[in-house]
C-alpha cells in the first residue's frame, strides 16, 4: 500500500493495483489478495480498509475462514465512478471522477473493490447501522459481563463501547436457551451468549475437516449444536474458544480459572511436537493458565492442537527436580555439583564416554552439548519420541527440536539409532562415562543395571526419573516456558521463545550450567546469554550461518539447509 502521489486520477493505478479512497484517503491496494486458503482473489473492501489503516468492526469475518457475511457488523457505504452515456467514467470540470454513491450498503468482508471506488466507514448511516446491529445482538444476550468468562476479550464488549448505544430499549422477555451445553470433552457452550457468527462451524468443517457443528432451530431461537448423538471431539476443538468473539464457547480447562486482564502474555512456542506452533503463554504470579495460538502463516496459521495446548500441567508437578543432587553430591549446591562434574569429566577418556541429549533442549543448549562432546570425544544421540500425526498441525515427531539436534550433529538422520549401541558398549565396558541431558535413558533401552556399571553418570531433567535417581550427579533443568531460546521445527524453521515463569527452587536453565561446564571443561567461554551462545553457534554451524538472533523476530526464519 502506497499513498498515491504521482497522480490524482484513481483510474490510473499501476498494473496489479487498484486505487480506492477510504474515508477521503486515497490508497493503492493490490488487485488481488490471499483469501483464507491463501489463494489470490479480488481484494475486498475490508482488506482495503485495513491497508488504509481504517478499522472495520466485524464478528463473523475471520481472515483464515471462508466468508459468511452474516453478522452485518462490517456494513459500509460506498460509491463507484459514474459512467456517462459513452460508458466511460464521467468527470468533474476539475478532472476528478463523478462518484455515484450506492443506495444500498455493502458488507466490507465480501465485496470486492473496484478502480476508483470510494468507501465510507464513518458516515452517520454507517454509524447507525453498526449501532443497530449491536442493539440487535444484545437484546437477547445476557447482560451479565461481570460473571462472563469472556469479559476482557469480548468483541461484544469492545464494539459496544466503541459503536453501541448506551441504553437498552428492549423491555420484552429475552429468548432463553441452554446455558450449559457440553459440546465435547473440552468445550462448553452457552447458547444464550452465542451471536451465531458461525466461525466455530466453519472452522471445524473447513479447516479441520470435521463437519461436527451446525445450527438447530430457526430465527432468534437458532442455536449451535453438535450433530445429534455425537460430541465435538477432534484435536482442534479449543481453537473454537479462541475464535468465538463472545463468551459462548469456552475451554473447560481455562474457564473461570483467571480473569484474562490479569494474565501476562509471553511470546512462545508449543513444544509438544516438531511443528513448533507459535503460541502466547498466559500466566500470572508464576503460574501458567493457558496456551493460545499466535498467528504465524508459515507454521500454524492461527491454530494449535488441543494436545499441545493442554500439555502444560506437568510443569507444576510435585516431582520436579528443584536442586542439584546425586550419590556423589553431599549437599544440594550448584557450585559443588559443577565442580564435581567438571572434575569427573576431566578424567574421562575419548571413546569411553557418550552423551545423550534431549531433542527438547534448545538449539543453543544443544550447541553447548556439541562443544562438550567434541572436546570429550563423545558420541551423541537423542531419544526419539513419536506418536500419530494428523492432517493439520500435529506431527509424528513429538520432540520440538529434532531438526536442531540433527543440524547440530547431536542426532543422526534417525534419532535414537545410537542408543542400542551405547547400551552394548556400556555392557561390554567400553563406555565408562555417560552424560544424559533431559532424558530418562532407562526408558530408551539402557537398563538401570547397565547404568550401575558406569564409573561416571551425570543426568539432568525436569522431573525426577529412573536415570537421575541412580546418577552420581543430577541437575534440575527447566521447562521451555521457564527459559529463553530457540527451536528448529521439522521444516527447518528456527523460532525463538521467551521466558514466561520462573523455574522452581534452584532449578536453572540448561544453558546456564551447560555454558559453565563448557567453560570449565574446555577452558573456552561462549558466554552465558542465549544471544552469545547463538552467535558462537552461528560462527560454527553452517545451517545457522546466515541467521542472527535478532532476525528471528516474532515468526522465526527458515534455515537454508
Amino acid at each position: 500500500m502506497k499513498q498515491s502521489q504521482q497522480s490524482n486520477d484513481p483510474l490510473a493505478a499501476p498494473p496489479g493495483m487498484i486505487s480506492v479512497t477510504v474515508d477521503g484517503r486515497t490508497v493503492l491496494v493490490p488487485r488481488t489478495m490471499p483469501d483464507w486458503q491463501g489463494r489470490q482473489v479480488p481484494t475486498t473492501m475490508l482488506q482495503a480498509c485495513e491497508l488504509a489503516g481504517v478499522t472495520v468492526p466485524h464478528y463473523c469475518y475471520h481472515p483464515k475462514l471462508p466468508v459468511a457475511g452474516n453478522c452485518r457488523m462490517c456494513l459500509v457505504e460506498y460509491g463507484v465512478p459514474a459512467l456517462g452515456p459513452d460508458r466511460k467514467p464521467m468527470r468533474q470540470p476539475d478532472g476528478s471522477l463523478v462518484i455515484k454513491k450506492s443506495p444500498r450498503p455493502a458488507i466490507a468482508c465480501a465485496t470486492p473493490v473496484s478502480p476508483g471506488m470510494e468507501i465510507y466507514t464513518s458516515t452517520p448511516t454507517v454509524k447507525l447501522m453498526r449501532q443497530s446491529v449491536l442493539e440487535f445482538l444484545l437484546i437477547n444476550h445476557p447482560l451479565d459481563c461481570p460473571i462472563c468468562d469472556q469479559a476482557g476479550e469480548c468483541k461484544l464488549q469492545e464494539y459496544s463501547v466503541e459503536y453501541g448505544r448506551a441504553s437498552s430499549r428492549f423491555v420484552e422477555t429475552k429468548v432463553h436457551k441452554n446455558k450449559q451445553v457440553d459440546l465435547g470433552p473440552r468445550i462448553m457452550l452457552d447458547q444464550e451468549r452465542c451471536i451465531l457468527c458461525s466461525r466455530c462451524i466453519r472452522f471445524t468443517r473447513d479447516v479441520v475437516g470435521d463437519d461436527a457443528l451446525g445450527i438447530v432451530n430457526r430465527g432468534s431461537y437458532s442455536a449451535i449444536a453438535a450433530y445429534p448423538g455425537t460430541t465435538f471431539d477432534n484435536n482442534y476443538t479449543l481453537n473454537t474458544a479462541d475464535i468465538c468473539p463472545v463468551g459462548a464457547l469456552t475451554s473447560k480447562d481455562f474457564r473461570f480459572q483467571m480473569r484474562v486482564w490479569f494474565l501476562k502474555e509471553t511470546m512462545s512456542l508449543c513444544a509438544s511436537c516438531g511443528t513448533g506452533c507459535n503460541i502466547v503463554i498466559g500466566s500470572r504470579e508464576n503460574r501458567i493458565y493457558r496456551f493460545t495460538p499466535r498467528q504465524n502463516d508459515a507454521v500454524n496459521s492461527c491454530w494449535m492442537c488441543d494436545y499441545g495446548r493442554l500439555n502444560y500441567r506437568w510443569i507444576e508437578r510435585a516431582d520436579r527436580l528443584t536442586n542439584p543432587g546425586g550419590t556423589k553430591l553431599t549437599k544440594p549446591d550448584w557450585e559443588d555439583a559443577i565442580n564435581g562434574i567438571a572434575a569427573g569429566l576431566k578424567q574421562t577418556i575419548p571413546g569411553h564416554i557418550a552423551i545423550v541429549a534431549s531433542a527438547r533442549l534448545t538449539n543453543e543448549e544443544l550447541y553447548l552439548v556439541r562443544r562438550l562432546a567434541q572436546f570429550l570425544g563423545a558420541p551423541t544421540d537423542c531419544a526419539p519420541r513419536s506418536g500419530p500425526a494428523d492432517n493439520l498441525l500435529l506431527c509424528a515427531d513429538r520432540n520440538p527440536n529434532t531438526k536442531g539436534a540433527q543440524l547440530l550433529g547431536i542426532a543422526a538422520s534417525l534419532p535414537g539409532a545410537n542408543l542400542p549401541v551405547f547400551a552394548r558398549l556400556i555392557r561390554n565396558g567400553t563406555i565408562r562415562s555417560l552424560l544424559v541431558f533431559g532424558e530418562d535413558v532407562t526408558r530408551h533401552g539402557i537398563a538401570p543395571e547397565d547404568l550401575a556399571r558406569l564409573d561416571f553418570l551425570v543426568a539432568s531433567d525436569i522431573h525426577s526419573n529412573g536415570t537421575t535417581m541412580i546418577s552420581h550427579y543430577f541437575l534440575p533443568g527447566c521447562a521451555h516456558v521457564e527459559k529463553r531460546g530457540s527451536f528448529t521445527n521439522v521444516h527447518g524453521r528456527i523460532q525463538k521463545f521467551e521466558k514466561a515463569v520462573d523455574p522452581p527452587g534452584l532449578a536453572r536453565p540448561e544453558l546456564y550450567w551447560l555454558s559453565e561446564l563448557v567453560c570449565r571443561v574446555t577452558g573456552q567461554s561462549v558466554g552465558r546469554t542465549v544471544e552469545s551462545v547463538f552467535e558462537a553457534m552461528r560462527a560454527e554451524v553452517p545451517a545457522f550461518r546466515n541467521i542472527a538472533w535478532a532476525d528471528l523476530e516474532d515468526h522465526g526464519v527458515a534455515t537454508s539447509v
Binding site: 430499549r169 422477555t173 430465527g219
Partner: protein, 468 residues
C-alpha cells in the same frame, strides 16, 4: 367490462379436465414442445444465423415476461445473465415453494394442470441447454408433489422427458425435491442451498449470483411455476403476440389471488395492468365486493410482505397520455391498475399477485401482530438484523394486541423496523418483515397509538414482560 383473460387457467376451469396426460394431450398438450424442438436455425436480416435455442430465448425476451414469483424481474434478462461459457452444466429449478401468505396460484397449476408446468419447463430447459432440472416444491404441498410425480412419470413414459426427447437428440430429466417447511426456501439462493441438502441460508451476493454460481456452484436458473407456464404460451403464440396482452412493461396475463373480506375470494387470471384494484375487489367477475354492510379499510396488494394501502388513499403514479408523454397523476388507490410498475410506483409491490382485502371489521394491530408473528417464525436466523429484529417486532406487537402497550411502543416499533431493511440483510426477507410494520404504522398509526395509550395506565410493561 373488466374480465378475466385465460391462458394459464384456460383448461383448468373446463369441466372434466383432469391431470392425466391423455387429457392434457386431448387439449393440445405438448404441441408447443413439439414446435420448439422442431425449430430450425433461422437466417437473420443481418446475415447471421440464429439457432433454435436462441430463437426461443429471443421470443421470451420480446415477450417482456416478468417473473411471477414476486420480484417481477425480466425473465429474458435473467436467462441472458446465465454464464454459458463456464463449461459447467446449467441447471434450471422451478420454484414451487409458494409460501407468501395470501398466495395460492402456483398450487392451482400444480394441482390441476401439472403437465402445463412440465411442458413449460422442458421448453425453458431446452432453450437454456439444461439437461437436469428440479421442481422444488413446498413441503406442505404433499398432494401437489404426488400429482407432479405422477405427471413426470407419464411424461417420461410418453417420451417428453428422458433421453432423445421426441427424437430431437435432446436429453432432459426433471426431479421433484420437497422442502421441509420453511418460507425462506422460496428465496432463490436459500432454495438452492436447501436443494443441496443444507440449511436454506440465503447466499451472499456477490459472489453467489445463481446465473453464475448457483446449484452445486454451477450456473442456475430459478423460475417460478407461473413464469414457466407463461414460457409455454409465449413460445406457442410468439413473443410479440404475448406482449400485445397486458400493457407495455407489464405484458401478458397473470394470476391474481384475491382473499380476505370479499364475497368471491379466489384465483383469477387477468391481463396485466388492464384491471384496477376496484375491479378486482368489487367487480362481479372477480372479488364480487365486500361482505354486506362492511366498508373497505385496507388492501395488501402483493402478499403480506407488500406495503399496505389504506382505503381512500391517494397515490401518485406516472401515466402515459394519448400522445405518449408521461405525466404524474394522482388517483384513488382503487383506480390503480394492477401491474408491477403501477403498484410499485404507488409505493408498494404486486409481489406474488396476492391481494388481501381488509374491511372495517379488521383490527389493524391484530393483523400486523399476526403478520409479524409469521415473519418472526420464518426468519432463517442467518443474519443479525432480521433474526433479532423480526422477533422483537413480533413481541412488541403481541404485547400491543393483548392490551399491554405503552405510549413509546409505536415509535420504538417503527425505529426497529427501520433498522432492518435497505440492504442491511443478506436477502429480501429483511424488507419483507419490516415493510408491513413500517406501512401499517404510517397508514394506521392512530389505531396503534390509541391501543398503546389506552393501556398506558395499566400494569407496567416490564411487569407484564416478566409474566410472559
Amino acid at each position: 367490462m373488466p374480465c378475466e383473460r385465460h391462458l394459464i387457467l384456460k383448461n383448468i376451469r373446463k369441466p372434466g379436465y383432469s391431470t392425466d396426460i391423455e387429457c392434457y394431450l386431448r387439449h393440445g398438450g405438448y404441441e408447443v414442445l413439439r414446435k420448439a424442438l422442431a425449430l430450425q436455425p433461422a437466417a437473420q436480416p443481418d446475415g447471421t444465423t440464429l439457432g433454435p435455442k436462441e430463437q426461443i430465448r429471443r421470443e421470451v425476451e420480446i415477450s417482456g415476461l416478468r417473473g411471477r414469483g414476486g420480484a417481477g424481474f425480466s425473465c429474458g434478462m435473467k436467462w441472458s445473465l446465465v454464464d454459458r461459457k463456464s463449461g459447467k452444466p446449467v441447471y434450471l429449478v422451478c420454484n414451487a415453494d409458494e409460501s407468501e401468505p395470501g398466495t395460492f396460484k402456483d398450487r392451482q397449476i400444480i394441482h390441476h394442470d401439472p403437465h402445463q408446468l412440465i411442458e413449460g419447463m422442458i421448453i425453458a430447459c431446452y432453450a437454456n441447454d439444461v439437461h437436469l432440472a428440479f421442481i422444488y416444491i413446498r413441503g406442505e404441498f404433499i398432494e401437489g408433489a404426488r400429482i407432479l410425480d405422477r405427471a413426470l412419470e407419464e411424461a417420461r413414459a410418453a417420451g417428453f422427458l428422458g433421453r432423445n426427447i421426441l427424437g430431437s437428440g435432446y436429453d432432459l430429466d426433471i426431479y421433484i425435491h420437497r422442502g421441509a417447511g420453511a418460507y425462506i426456501c422460496g428465496e432463490e439462493t436459500g432454495l438452492i442451498e436447501s436443494l443441496e441438502g443444507k440449511r436454506p441460508y440465503p447466499r451472499i451476493k456477490p459472489p453467489y449470483f445463481p446465473a453464475v454460481l448457483g446449484l452445486y456452484q454451477c450456473p442456475t436458473i430459478v423460475n417460478n411455476v407461473e413464469t414457466l407456464c407463461a414460457v409455454k404460451h409465449i413460445v406457442g403464440m410468439g413473443g410479440a403476440e404475448y406482449a400485445r396482452l397486458g400493457t407495455p412493461d407489464n405484458t401478458g396475463t397473470r394470476l391474481v389471488c384475491i382473499s380476505g373480506h370479499v364475497k368471491r375470494p379466489g384465483c383469477y387470471e387477468i391481463e396485466v395492468g388492464k384491471v384496477t384494484f376496484r375491479d378486482l375487489i368489487f367487480d362481479e367477475a372477480f372479488g364480487g365486493g365486500l361482505l354486506d354492510g362492511r366498508q373497505l379499510k385496507a388492501i395488501i396488494p402483493g402478499g403480506v410482505s407488500a406495503k399496505v394501502f389504506r382505503a381512500g388513499e391517494k397515490v401518485r403514479v406516472n401515466k402515459r397520455t394519448a400522445d405518449g408523454k408521461m405525466i404524474e397523476t394522482e388517483m384513488d388507490v382503487l383506480d390503480l391498475p394492477y401491474d408491477f410498475t403501477s403498484v410499485s410506483a404507488a409505493g408498494s409491490m404486486s409481489g406474488s399477485g396476492a391481494i388481501i382485502v381488509l374491511d372495517n371489521s379488521a383490527d389493524m394491530v391484530e393483523v400486523l401482530a399476526n403478520i409479524s408473528e409469521f415473519f418472526a417464525h420464518e426468519s432463517c436466523g442467518q443474519c443479525t438484523p432480521c433474526r433479532e429484529g423480526s422477533l422483537w417486532m413480533a413481541k412488541i406487537l403481541r404485547r400491543l394486541a393483548k392490551g399491554r402497550g405503552q405510549p413509546a411502543d409505536v415509535a420504538l416499533l417503527l425505529s426497529v423496523a427501520d433498522q432492518i431493511p435497505g440492504g442491511r440483510t443478506i436477502c429480501a426477507f429483511g424488507e419483507a418483515c419490516s415493510w408491513p410494520v413500517q406501512s401499517f404504522l404510517v397508514k394506521f398509526g392512530d389505531e396503534f397509538r390509541a391501543k398503546a395509550e389506552a393501556n398506558a395506565d395499566k400494569k407496567s410493561d416490564r411487569a407484564f414482560a416478566e409474566t410472559q
